[in-house]
C-alpha cells in the first residue's frame, strides 16, 4: 500500500495540482493531518486526466470543512448553504446540461441537513458526481455527533458516546438509485483518484465516499491518535472488496473498512428520461430540452 503512495508521487509532478487551485487563497483553513486536502489532490489528478473541458466543470459545496473545497478549486465554484449543494447542483446541471457538475461536501452537510436532497437526486439520477468526505463528525462547529458517527464514538454532543445507529452510505446511495458507488479512504490516493475519474466519466448520479481523518476533533476526542495514526488505521484495516453487497459494509468504530467500487450500472438520467418520455408522449410538438 505504501508503495502505491510512492508511485503516484513519482508519476505525476507535484506542481501540476497548483493550476487547479486558487493559489492566492492559500494557506487553506484545514488542520494539520486533516484528510480533506489529500482528497482534493486526488480530485485534481482525476480532473487532469479526465479529458473534461475544464471550462465546463463546476464544483458545488455546502457548508463545513469540506464545504470549503469549492473556494479553493480554480474552476467555476459555488459555495452554497448548509446541506443544499445538491439541489443547487441540480438546478445548475439542468439549466446547462453541457456542464459537468461535481458536488464536493462533507458527511454532515450531505446526509444530515442535506439527506433529503441526497436521496432524491440519487432517485432521479441527476447527472452529477457527489464526492462525500466522511470524517465522522462536524469539524467546523467543534466535533458534534453526525449521522455517520460510529456507535460508541464520542462527540461534543454525545460526551458519553454515541448511541445512534449511523448510516452505511454506499448502501443508502445504492438503495436510492445511484449508478456508481465507491468507498475509499484518504490513504488510498491512487484508488481514490481512479474512482473519482470513473465517477466523472459516469453519466448519472455517481457517488464516492471518502473516509478522512479529523485529527483535531474526532481522533483526539476519541483518543485514536493523530492524522497519521488514522492513515495507519485505514491502511491496516481496509479490505478492498470490489462489487461487495453494500448491505454488508457498515462501518464500526475503529473496525474493519470495506473499500472498493460497489455499484457501476446504467440507468437513464433525469434529463434523458424526461426528453425520451416527452418525445414519446408529445411527439413532434415536443422541443427536446437541451438547456
Amino acid at each position: 500500500m505504501a508503495e502505491e503512495l510512492f508511485e503516484i508521487e513519482e508519476s505525476v509532478p507535484v506542481n501540476t495540482v497548483e493550476s487547479f487551485l486558487r493559489m492566492e487563497r492559500m494557506p487553506h483553513i484545514w488542520c494539520p493531518g486533516c484528510g480533506i486536502g489529500t482528497t482534493v489532490n486526488c480530485f485534481a489528478h482525476a480532473l487532469e486526466t479526465s479529458g473534461l473541458d475544464l471550462q465546463k466543470v463546476s464544483v458545488v459545496s455546502g457548508i463545513g470543512c469540506t464545504g470549503r473545497v469549492a473556494g479553493y478549486i480554480n474552476l467555476d465554484s459555488f459555495h452554497t448553504t448548509h446541506g443544499r449543494a445538491i439541489p443547487f447542483a441540480t438546478g445548475l446541471k439542468l439549466a446547462n446540461p453541457e456542464l459537468k457538475v461535481i458536488v464536493y461536501s462533507g458527511d454532515g452537510d450531505l446526509t444530515a441537513i442535506g439527506g433529503n436532497h441526497f436521496i432524491h437526486a440519487a432517485r432521479r439520477n441527476v447527472d452529477m458526481t457527489v464526492i462525500l468526505i466522511n470524517n465522522f463528525t462536524y469539524g467546523m462547529t467543534g466535533g458534534q455527533v453526525a449521522p455517520t458517527t460510529p456507535l460508541s464514538a464520542t462527540a461534543s454532543t454525545t460526551p458519553y458516546g454515541n448511541y445512534e445507529q449511523s448510516f452505511n452510505l454506499p448502501y443508502l446511495a445504492e438503495s436510492c438509485g445511484a449508478v456508481y458507488v465507491a468507498r475509499w479512504t484518504a490513504f488510498h490516493v491512487r484508488h481514490l483518484t481512479k474512482a473519482i475519474k470513473e465517477a466523472l466519466a459516469k453519466k448519472g448520479f455517481s457517488f464516492v465516499e471518502v473516509l478522512a481523518p479529523c485529527p483535531t476533533l474526532y481522533s483526539r476526542r476519541n483518543k485514536i491518535g493523530d492524522g497519521l495514526d488514522q492513515m495507519i488505521y485505514y491502511k491496516d484495516n481496509s479490505e478492498i472488496r470490489n462489487g461487495a453487497d453494500t448491505k454488508t459494509i457498515p462501518l464500526e468504530f475503529q473496525g474493519k473498512i470495506v473499500v472498493g467500487k460497489f455499484v457501476d450500472k446504467e440507468r437513464p438520467t433525469y434529463l434523458d428520461a424526461m426528453n425520451e418520455f416527452y418525445q414519446q408522449k408529445l411527439g413532434e410538438d415536443y422541443i427536446p430540452y437541451k438547456g
Binding site: R22, E24, R25, Q55, K56, S58, V60, A70, G71, N74, L75, D76, S77, F78, H79, T80, T81, R84, I86, P87, F88, A89, T90, G91, L92, K93, L94, A95, N96, E98, L99, N116, H117, H120, Y270, Y278, L282, D285, Y286, I287, Y289, K290, G291
Partner: protein, 386 residues
C-alpha cells in the same frame, strides 16, 4: 429587448391569477421553475408543467421548498431566468435562500400566493400576512423588491416586471399574490410579444483578465457571468470581496453589505410604483395593496358620495416602500387608513413615514376572507371627522 414570441399566448383569455402568473413568467423568458406543491399556489406550477415542454423550459418538482428555492439559483448561474412558487409554510422554509440570493446577487423570482397563517393556518383562504417576512425574513441586512398584484391581469403584467427588476438590480424579487387574486378568474389580455419589454441579464463582456465578479461601476449592481463561460468564478454566501472570494473581515463586510442594501435604497425612486386616485386635496388617504385595493373601493366610493375627501394610494411595488410620497402627504392629510389582510404590517411603514404628523388607522383582518367594505368605510368615516 422584446419577449420571445414562442412563449407568448397573445390574445384575450379568461384566466385565474395563478395561471396568469405562469403565463407572465413564460413571457418574461423564465425557462426554469422549481416548486413543491402547496395550496393555493399549486396551479402556477401545474400550468408551468403543462406549458414548458412546448416552450423549451425545465420544470422540476423538488423534494421540498428549501430545495426549490436553491435549485432556481443553480439554474440562474447556469444561465436561465428562474422562479419558484409557494405559499406561507413553504415561504418560511425558503427564507435562508432569499438571503443567499441577496448575498450572491442572484436574480430570481419568489412567488408567494399568501394564505392565512401562522403555521398551516387556512390553506385555501386569503391573507396578506407575509409582507414583513418578504422584506425581513432572512437573517442579516439586505434589500429586496416586492410587488403586489390585485388582479389576474396584473399577475401577468407584474410577473414580467418582477423578472425585469430582478435582472436590473440582481436581487430576488418577491411576487406577493394572495389566495383571492390567485384563484380569481378574469379577463387577461396578453399583448403581442413585440410589445412586451424584457430586461436581459447584464452579462460582462470585457476582457476576461479584468473581470471582478462583484465590482460595480456607479450603479451599485455588478455584471454577471455564468458557469461554463471560462471565468472560473467563485460564488459564496460568505462575506466576499470583489473577486467573490471569502473575506471575513470588518472592512469587507462594511463595503459589501451596505451596497446590498443601498442598491435598492438608492434606486428606490426608480423602483417604487403606486397608483393614486384623488389623493391631491384628500383629507383621508387610504393606503392599500393587492386584493385590499379592490375591497377598499366600495368603501371609498361610499365615503366620497357622502362628501368626504378620500384619496386612494395603492402600492404596486410594496418594497421598497414609497417613503417620500407618504412623508409628503403626511403634512397635508388628516389621516391615513390602512386596510390589510393581517393584523398590522404595512401600517408600520406608514406610521414610520408619517412620524406622528397625521393619524394612521389600521383596518386589520386576520385573513380567511377579504374585508367587508363596511369595516373600511367605518374607519374612513371616523378618520374624516378627525
Amino acid at each position: 429587448m422584446k419577449a420571445d414570441p414562442k412563449g407568448v399566448l397573445t390574445g384575450s383569455h379568461f384566466l385565474d391569477g395563478d395561471h396568469s402568473c405562469s403565463e407572465g413568467a413564460i413571457a418574461a423568458g423564465c425557462r426554469f421553475v422549481a416548486g413543491y406543491p402547496i395550496t393555493p399556489s399549486t396551479e402556477v406550477v401545474e400550468r408551468i408543467a403543462s406549458r414548458f415542454p412546448y416552450v423549451g423550459g425545465m420544470f422540476i418538482q423538488m423534494e421540498d421548498e428549501i430545495a426549490s428555492s436553491i435549485a432556481i439559483q443553480g439554474a440562474v448561474w447556469g444561465g436561465k431566468k428562474a422562479m419558484t412558487v409557494t405559499s406561507g409554510p413553504g415561504f418560511s422554509l425558503m427564507m435562508e435562500h432569499i438571503g443567499l440570493a441577496a448575498m450572491t446577487e442572484t436574480p430570481c423570482v419568489f412567488v408567494d400566493v399568501q394564505r392565512a397563517g401562522p403555521s398551516t393556518g387556512l390553506p385555501t383562504q386569503p391573507a396578506q400576512g407575509d409582507m414583513m417576512q418578504a422584506r425581513w425574513g432572512s437573517h442579516g441586512d439586505y434589500g429586496i423588491i416586492a410587488l403586489s398584484p390585485n388582479s389576474p391581469q396584473e399577475c401577468f403584467d407584474l410577473t414580467i416586471k418582477a423578472f425585469n427588476l430582478s435582472e436590473q438590480y440582481r436581487v430576488p424579487v418577491m411576487f406577493m399574490m394572495d389566495e383571492c387574486v390567485g384563484h380569481m378568474t378574469e379577463r387577461v389580455v396578453i399583448p403581442p410579444a413585440d410589445q412586451i419589454e424584457i430586461v436581459p441579464r447584464k452579462f460582462y463582456e470585457g476582457p476576461k483578465a479584468d473581470y471582478l465578479p462583484y465590482k460595480t461601476n456607479g450603479d451599485l449592481v455588478p455584471m454577471m457571468v455564468k458557469a461554463g463561460d471560462g471565468y472560473n468564478i467563485h460564488v459564496t454566501g460568505l462575506t466576499h470581496d470583489e473577486r467573490g472570494y471569502p473575506s471575513m473581515t470588518v472592512p469587507t463586510q462594511e463595503k459589501l453589505i451596505p451596497r446590498l442594501v443601498n442598491k435598492i435604497k438608492h434606486n428606490a425612486p426608480k423602483i417604487v410604483e403606486y397608483v393614486e386616485d384623488q389623493v391631491d386635496g384628500a383629507e383621508v388617504v387610504v393606503v392599500t395593496f393587492g386584493i385590499t385595493s379592490r375591497t377598499s373601493i366600495p368603501a371609498i366610493e361610499q365615503a366620497r358620495k357622502e362628501g368626504m375627501k378620500v384619496g386612494h394610494l395603492r402600492l404596486v411595488v410594496v418594497w421598497p416602500f414609497p417613503e417620500e410620497r407618504i412623508r409628503e402627504l403626511a403634512s397635508r392629510v388628516r389621516a391615513f387608513v390602512v386596510p390589510e389582510l393581517n393584523l398590522g404590517q404595512m401600517v408600520l411603514e406608514v406610521e414610520r413615514c408619517v412620524a406622528g404628523k397625521a393619524r394612521v388607522e389600521l383596518v386589520g383582518h386576520p385573513g380567511g376572507t377579504v374585508h367587508n367594505p363596511k369595516d373600511i368605510y367605518n374607519v374612513i368615516k371616523k378618520s374624516a371627522k378627525g
